[in-house]
Symmetry: D2
Subunit: 186 residues, 4 copies
């Protein structure tokens, strides 16, 4: 997924930070993190627990993983608050405004989601980022396959929407398919 | 709407910045701004056009308006970008992250809304703010009368939700009714 | 100090938040807050104690004071953390990044200062704001009458520097003298 | 420079973005970037030109460099604005407030510096970060070997100050010497 000699894309995986251990969305997040790294991306998350940790651990388990591939953008100012799978811990001290940084990644993959995830989806849309949303309970499921508003983000890209996916493989394939198109139009 | 000798509440009116002049949501925003100031609140908006300007002009037209009652929190760093009805222009330079500041008001009243408004609603929910949403087209209408996620924001406040309203009067009455309850639980 | 029918300027008074009650810089901050309001400005501070509270109380004591003239931009997300003299409390939740907002006022008056104040002076310089610094112990005294860097901020304004002042009266007079020049060049 | 099984430290190199090609501070920044990576750190800069680019290129030239070791925290929201040596481009969109993120690294090494660098030094001090400053023209030289304010940041660390260095080797050695002490006290 390198196009035109550019640096590998930075892709966010977002979702709730407080899921029970057996929640299927955690396995999904893990598979997304792993698949994205194997597709040549780096991962960014909010650096804490739940979906953020699962995606980060998945990234670390990828055959193509190399140290430095997992970024965590923390709300607090203590980098030690990052989960153990984070390679690069950015302790922003910005509180919930750190969501803006997560939403500024090259592409966003949402797995479920409460209010924080919803704010990231909305901001990513505003910033004209590529968004993929898993069709699972939570805001990713609610927004999958629709547009967040009617504004034309790219006049020459008629398929622009929140792209819905049922599996991690599908989510990764959508990122691989569409990211070059979005980057070209930045 | 002063309780316990505190400073007047700061209430945000949020919504799209690019509506046509005859859009009924502009009249609604104007009535909200006016009604909130007459109820003893100060107003904060994103400081630009559309709903932001309409609410600010409404506030200025209120009998109880006094200079200083209308705050605009701008995305750019030039205070002169604020609309003419803004008394206090905060030029944040934070880009879309200024949405976090708008969402941090004591209460939020949403009139329609695209992605930016949605991000503010989601952040306001995360910050446990009181939210009132007009039942009109846009995200305020979609989220009126529901909860943004299932998290219990206040264990002892069973009615916590995005409060739906049909008119500006109703929206102002909801702010007056509920804000003391929310402030007490901060 | 209204020029060209614009809104009244928003002027920041900055300095340490933890001075002993008899520190002469508190009296100076109080006189600055009062003098700025009487000159037709609104005041913004970091909303907490020390110089921030003293300037806010001074503003309230000004003959020309009207409610709404004192803004506090807080690091946390609880507006009740603002000192009692603050009219408009913006609870940013941004931590130290709220210093950027204070530094974005139309003009900045520094009274002493530790590291936080220094960061605000440096950012205000970057943002090409008018800066006045009292010649008292702390960073305002160290930077008074010099330039923070050699960059030409305004090619046609040869006197651009951190303007030093010995008294609150002098500080207010410098704001009145120079602010129209700086605003014109924004 | 890994202590206690933790992730490698993230160290910022900061300084002016607009130096002439033959300015000796660029060579110094390059040597700092290279030395820090060889000492086991990752690098973060503001992602643009001048000292930021030189340090990033130096990091890439280090024998121990591996992709992912160079982070750029950009003021704008376009990741393509990062210089070519940046591995991980965070497009914050926060304007000058992105300085706060750079200043939040585990340690900061300053090479010269105008107002932006000064703001980062001041914020790093507020956040109780380890700071090393090269004794060269600019704010790093002015602040080397002194304290930014008199506040006791660590009661049990009597040597706390901006540590001055004459060479990149010395700067890296100071980071290696002191960072474990600072991290232990977070």
């Amino acid at each position: 997924m390198r196009d035109e000699g550019r640096r590998p894309p930075l892709v966010a995986v977002i979702g709730p930070g407080d899921l029970p251990d057996d929640d299927p969305r955690l396995a999904l997040a893990r598979a997304c993190g792993r698949g994205l790294v194997d597709a040549g991306c780096r991962l960014v998350t909010g650096g804490l627990s739940g979906v953020m940790r699962a995606a980060s651990e998945g990234a670390r388990s990828a055959p193509r993983y190399a140290p430095g591939a997992v970024v965590g953008v923390l709300p607090g100012s203590d980098p030690d608050a990052a989960n153990a799978a984070v390679d690069v811990a950015l302790a922003t001290g910005l509180g919930v405004a750190r969501n803006v940084l997560v939403a500024s990644a090259d592409a966003i993959v949402a797995v479920g989601g409460c209010a924080g995830t919803l704010s990231e989806l909305a901001i990513a849309w505003q910033l004209r980022r590529l968004i993929v949303a898993l069709r699972v309970p939570g805001w990713s499921g609610e927004l999958a396959d629709r547009r967040i508003d009617d504004r034309v983000r790219f006049p020459d890209l008629p398929e622009d929407r929140v792209f819905g996916a049922d599996t991690a493989e599908e989510a990764v394939a959508l990122v691989a398919r569409w990211l070059p198109e979005y980057r070209r139009r930045r």
